[in-house]
């Protein structure tokens, strides 16, 4: 089974995000970068399928050179080879352009199933997975918490949580699956794995090598334009409900929720 995982590098969720002076972007210089946590679920699922069916896992990343570290991390977890799409024209591309570049890199390698996170924890768009499937002309299943590949390796059954229920969907392969939290518990990149990853192939591809037109990428080609970024409002101090008995406190709480917070 040939499995592909597309991954994104995002600011560490522990990082302090600061706005850039342009008011439309964030300061990137001091950030620590990590593999998008949802993509980590994708890597883990890919490895589990490989362990069951055999085959290989290829990790595809996109962005500046630093993304190599996330790809190497996936290789250290057990993936077999990596591809980094790196081109100066990429900077500032939106989700659709990202999906287009990934599709160009993926289409020439054999694949049965493609994993990616259901969204990046930075921009929270959730577009790349479905858009990638569109560009490749294959089905996609998004926000998936369980993946079961059929014995013959020709189809996949997935669980997707919807409003307190679970939707069970089935698709022929190849297909794109976007991973949601709960799909699995990703393994650590073990120390022997880190040493092995050093020797695994990691190819770098430019737009020219992929036959892509740079004018369709970058800030100028965005369909989605960022007008303004603002930090979330500062949290206001909490309120302690007073009262002599639990009953009177509950009554007061209900009144506050109804009259002040207006949530019930």
């Amino acid at each position: 089974m040939n499995i592909i995982v597309c991954l994104k590098q995002v600011p560490d969720t522990e990082s302090q995000i600061k706005l850039a002076p342009d008011g439309k972007s964030i300061l990137k210089e001091d950030l620590k970068w990590v593999m998008n946590p949802y993509d980590e679920f994708g890597v883990e699922e890919a490895l589990r399928i490989k362990e069951k069916f055999g085959g290989s896992v290829t990790v595809v990343g996109l962005g500046p050179k630093r993304v190599t570290e996330s790809i190497r991390t996936a290789l250290a977890m057990g993936a077999d080879k990596g591809i980094l799409i790196s081109d100066p024209a990429l900077e500032g591309s939106d989700a659709l352009a990202t999906a287009k570049a990934l599709a160009a890199a993926v289409k020439d390698i054999p694949y049965d199933i493609i994993f990616t996170g259901q969204r990046g924890v930075d921009d929270d768009n959730g577009i790349v997975g479905p858009a990638l499937a569109e560009y490749l002309g294959i089905p996609h299943m998004s926000i998936i918490v369980k993946v079961e590949v059929s014995q013959d390796g020709k189809s996949v059954k997935c669980n997707k949580p919807v409003e307190g229920q679970t939707l069970v969907i089935e698709s022929p392969l190849p297909a794109v699956v976007t991973a949601q939290k709960g799909l699995n518990e990703p393994r650590y990149a073990s120390l022997p794995g880190i040493m092995k990853a050093k020797k695994k192939p990691l190819e770098e591809k430019t737009f020219a090598a992929l036959g892509l037109n740079p004018s369709e990428f970058g800030e100028g080609a965005r369909n989605l334009k960022v007008i303004e970024l603002t930090p979330p409002p500062a949290r206001k101090a909490g309120k302690i409900v007073s009262g002599d008995t639990p009953e009177s406190k509950a009554k007061e709480l209900a009144r506050l929720l109804h009259e002040e917070a207006k949530v019930i």
Partner: protein, 383 residues
């Protein structure tokens, strides 16, 4: 000058940090409270590859550089000193002497199990009457035919009495040198050898989740071949081992100081007094600034010493400086951090309470701060 870490070292730091946050932080307080060694986390640490990090693949090691080992120890120490102690002692003191001075046969017999984390090995150096004065070792080994007969005892030996401990290296007096001073040699003693007993020590103030024991040798007989390296090289082997070991204690100080600092920073943002977060008061902000400054200096000296070692340059002085400085920085950071936590910092509910206790060992174990100053003063030509 290049202060950057390699990509593998960065990935290693990330992976060990994740592991420490997820697998160790959650059990550390309980293990401390129960004064118990966790076999479950020990197994997980072994599976991750935290033992035998600097050992070649031939013997089941990870073939990483010393800096990588120090990074891993630092990251574990950032969440818990006891677990970091298991790793530091396991690698530097358990595996180290076997790997650097052992015969091919000894290495093949012991290292694979130790590097996988399936077993542990102790390093018996300290005795009730031989602490800083290690030359005064009393435990004696007398050659009787093809066997060493060992008598004596050791104290404060890490990892030596766990269920998975497979043996110890003991520094023994094997005779008298021509200059009249004792001849010291290291001898390997396997668990289960008649006359050898390892008894766990309890009632510790710190490192309560780590295994500490007393070793007793009572006419304990081991084959002649159990000698580690040449006869009479014990003192030299011990010094070499401690040079490397000091770096791992430095890593524990650095990681621990970092942990104390992060807890202090977080808490002082959350704690509101006089209408604002206490981090806004200059008296507290300056404490945090001092901690950050000292941690940065500690990091520089420790990693420079490791760099010297990895590049085969002399590093004894720098190792002593790093061990001394990092442990004193942790002392100050733990103290500031508890102070910033106020009354809550005195409660077990807050991890900083444990860090405050755990810190003290670093100024005593593997050469007291006084011994480090002695080493440095000699190496700078002062004494």
């Amino acid at each position: 000058m290049d202060f950057s870490f390699s990509m593998e070292q960065e990935i290693l730091r990330n992976t060990v940090r994740q592991f420490a946050e997820k697998e160790i932080k959650s059990v550390a307080r309980e293990m401390d409270e129960r004064e118990e060694f966790s076999y479950e986390t020990m197994q997980k640490m072994g599976e991750l590859g935290l033992f035998g990090m600097f050992v070649s693949e031939t013997y089941g090691g990870q073939a990483m550089d010393y800096i990588s080992y120090i990074i891993a120890t630092e990251e574990i120490a950032r969440v818990d000193q006891s677990h970091a102690a298991t790793i530091a002692a396991g690698n530097s003191l358990g595996i180290g002497p076997l790997y650097y001075f052992g015969s091919e046969e000894q290495k093949r017999a012991h290292l694979p199990g130790l590097c996988s984390g399936e077993s542990l090995w102790g390093f018996g150096l300290t005795e009730p009457n031989a602490g800083s004065d290690a030359g005064n070792t009393q435990t004696a080994a007398v050659l009787d035919g093809d066997e060493w007969v060992i008598n004596g005892s050791k104290i404060f030996i890490t990892n030596a009495a766990t269920k998975i401990t497979s043996g110890v290296t003991a520094l023994c007096r094997t005779g008298t040198r021509q200059d009249g001073r004792p001849e010291l040699s290291c001898i390997l003693i396997e668990r289960g050898t008649p006359g050898f007993d390892a008894v766990e020590m309890h009632g510790k103030m710190m490192w309560r989740g780590s295994n500490t024991s007393q070793l007793y040798f009572d006419d304990c007989r081991v084959p002649k071949e159990n000698l580690l390296g040449p006869r009479g090289h014990g003192f030299y082997q011990m010094m070499q081992t401690l040079d490397g070991g000091r770096l791992s204690i430095g890593a524990m100080g650095l990681g621990g100081a970092q942990g104390c600092f992060e807890m202090a920073l977080k808490y002082s943002h959350e704690r509101v007094q006089f209408g604002k977060a206490i981090s806004n008061f200059q008296v507290n902000a300056f404490k945090l600034a001092d901690m950050a400054l000292e941690i940065e200096c500690a990091r520089l000296i420790l990693y420079k010493a490791c760099w010297l070692r990895d590049n085969n340059k002399p590093f004894t002085k720098e190792a002593a400086m790093a061990k001394l400085y990092c442990s004193e920085v942790m002392y100050r950071c733990a103290n500031h951090s508890v102070q910033l936590h106020g009354g809550y910092g005195l409660m077990k509910e807050y991890d900083v309470e444990r860090f405050y206790r755990d810190q003290k060992l670093l100024e005593i174990g593997e050469g007291t701060s006084e011994v480090q100053r002695l080493v440095i003063s000699r190496l700078i030509g002062a004494a």
